[in-house]
């Protein structure tokens, strides 16, 4: 509809004395315009079709097939789903992933928020703080994982060395079944904090100072100012970041793969790791796709509910 508005007007301004071109001519020009537009679109469209849209559909199809590359797929109904659901590793993987996400959110949300609050008050060496906090983000995740694997080494690692220095009991860190998961959360928090801090800082800087002044005149204490000015003013950023963080941490892979290999005793097998195992260790692509579909559905439902809840909350506040 709207595509017809602009160009004919130009055509008239270019050739004001000529009669408007006949209908067939206009049609041809419009077709040529469309052909050109699609020529520009083509490369991008093909890539999206092949590597985004098609895999999404394919995941659902293969989830109902027995699929081994090279041989013909075979329809098996819901067999993949029942097999995957019966796998004891499935329960472990989901429990680990959800625990990891919850812990990562507690640490990866609270610590950066507090840091951003403090940094926003400091008037000196701002460039230093920003560069330092963002430095770990630029270190390749594989290097970060290997670095912390070395820190966590029960014998010679820096983590236990620090505990000994403080006269605290040492820990097995990533080698202990009960401490492995939290050890990985610490790595993820360290590595990803930079981006979160910078985003919170930007949000804090957009709060008008008059709000703080007014609150102070009304006798609001420091904590009251945070509670009634800072948090409401940054609520939107906080909620969006939380959603993104949750979706990202639900797909954690590099840390468990590199640091613990899913162990000890399946304590750090995550959903994505299990998908990887089904595909590349068991050569069971049907099972891998069934797991992928379950993860997709879960995250899709989760974000729909989350967005729904936060939207109504936003309207109430407004």
């Amino acid at each position: 509809m709207t595509k017809t508005t602009a160009r004919p007007v130009q055509a008239i301004t270019v050739r004001p004395v000529q009669a408007p071109p006949p209908a067939g001519d206009r049609m041809r020009r419009r077709l040529a315009d469309q052909a050109r537009a699609y020529a520009f679109l083509l490369g991008g469209l093909v890539c999206f079709a092949l590597f985004s849209w098609y895999p999404a559909i394919r995941a659902v199809v293969i989830a109902f097939q027995k699929y081994t590359p090279g041989s013909d797929p075979e329809w098996v109904g819901t067999a993949n789903f029942t097999r995957v659901l019966d796998d004891p590793e499935f329960t472990a993987a989901w429990r680990n992933t959800l625990t990891f996400t919850l812990l990562a959110l507690l640490m990866g949300f609270a610590i950066p928020f507090v840091l951003a609050l403090v940094l926003n008050e400091l008037r000196h060496a701002r460039a230093f703080f920003r560069v330092a906090v963002y430095l770990p983000v630029m270190i390749p995740p594989v290097v970060t994982a290997l670095l912390w694997k070395w820190f966590y080494d029960p014998g010679t690692g820096l983590a236990n060395e620090a505990l000994r220095f403080l006269h605290l009991p040492t820990s097995n860190w990533s080698n202990g079944a009960d401490t492995a998961l939290i050890s990985l959360v610490i790595v993820a928090t360290w590595a990803n904090m930079g981006g979160t801090v910078l985003i919170y800082l930007a949000a804090l800087q957009s709060i008008p100072g008059e709000l703080y002044e007014a609150a102070e005149l009304d006798g609001a204490s420091l904590l009251q100012r945070i509670r009634h000015v800072t948090i409401p003013q940054t609520r939107f950023v906080i909620l969006m970041l939380m959603l993104l963080q949750i979706i990202a941490t639900m797909q954690v892979f590099t840390e468990p793969f590199v640091i613990t290999g899913g162990g000890p005793e399946n304590a750090t097998v995550t959903v994505l790791y299990l998908i990887y195992k089904y595909a590349f260790l068991y050569n069971d692509f049907g099972g891998a796709c069934a797991l992928s579909v379950l993860l997709l559905v879960f995250l899709g439902l989760f974000s729909a509910v989350y967005l729904r809840l936060t939207r109504t909350e936003g309207e109430d506040a407004a």
């Binding site: 469309q34 490369g43 008037r123 430095l135 390749p140 220095f165 910078l198 800072t230």
Partner: protein, 286 residues
């Protein structure tokens, strides 16, 4: 815990406020140095310790003797030049493909009014809602069907399907005033000419941001190259590091880790202003 403040300048100017400020300031500087800079220092110097010294408890803060052999060994034994070169090729290609194809597509969606343009844009934005990692297995199968395993195209082409970068470009193109483009059109410039001589020069900031995102994403990725490059000779440095980490001396491995980090850290230090501004701006605009 309770010393952080949302203080007014007046409160800061008072002697007590000032003392508190400098205490907090010092504490935070120390905390940041310890938490973020020290691990990097530990890595760089750890690679220069002797194999005995790196395993010693308690550890030495400064190496007793400085060995460069860790770095040279890593360079030779782990075939770092091959893997670094692979990473450079993969990142550069992904950057180029993304810049050319995403820019063209964004320009078409923003300015050329294709039929179904809204539907296509909706389809592209919808992929933002789909968790990317959850689709790696069917994506891998598609790449395998196309015969692209162990081929850098397996990195380059999927990188183009980046809805975030495409949308960033489209929104920027939307803001270019219509008069400018119409004037060019009246002067007889074609679509490509307008894109090349007018739109792109005006879009330098957003192109910079997209470039940095594209390069960092490929350099940092692990799971995808792990899947598509089974051939050791083709693997980027991230995959090679993990594969080789099992049976190599610790100091050599650490040196390789440092070398693998240098390109991105160096880029960050050079472009830090732009990178940090990009992150901050991208977030507040929503």
């Amino acid at each position: 815990m309770s010393t952080r403040t949302l203080v007014s300048p007046a409160a800061l100017a008072r002697p007590r406020g000032r003392a508190t400020y400098w205490t907090v300031f010092t504490a935070i500087v120390l905390l940041f140095a310890l938490a973020f800079l020290f691990p990097v220092y530990w890595m760089v110097t750890g690679a220069m310790k002797s194999p005995d010294e790196v395993a010693r408890t308690p550890p030495t803060i400064v190496p007793k003797a400085w060995h460069l052999s860790g770095y040279t060994d890593a360079w030779d034994l782990m075939q770092l030049p091959t893997h670094l070169w692979n990473t450079v090729v993969q990142a550069a290609g992904a950057w180029l493909f993304q810049l050319v194809l995403c820019t063209a597509a964004a320009y078409a969606l923003s300015r050329l009014r294709p039929v179904f343009g809204k539907v296509i844009l909706g389809g592209i934005l919808a992929t933002l809602m789909v968790p990317a990692q959850a689709l790696v297995v069917p994506k891998y199968l598609t790449v395998a069907d196309l015969g692209l395993l162990n081929d850098p195209l397996a990195i380059w082409l999927p990188a183009v399907a980046n809805a975030f970068n495409l949308y960033l470009l489209k929104r920027f193109f939307d803001q270019i005033p219509r008069d400018v483009l119409e004037a060019a059109e009246i002067d007889g410039a074609g679509r490509l000419r307008i894109l090349w001589s007018i739109v792109l020069p005006m879009s330098r900031p957003v192109l910079g941001v997209v470039s940095i995102f594209a390069l960092v994403a490929v350099w940092q990725d692990f799971l995808w190259p792990l899947m598509v490059f089974s051939d050791t000779e083709k693997q980027p440095i991230s995959v090679a590091l993990v594969q080789l980490s099992q049976n190599i001396q610790l100091t050599v491995l650490i040196a390789a880790m440092v070398i693998a980090s240098i390109p991105m850290v160096a880029m960050f230090l050079v472009f830090q202003r732009h990178i940090i501004a990009g992150i901050s701006a991208g977030s507040t605009k929503g």
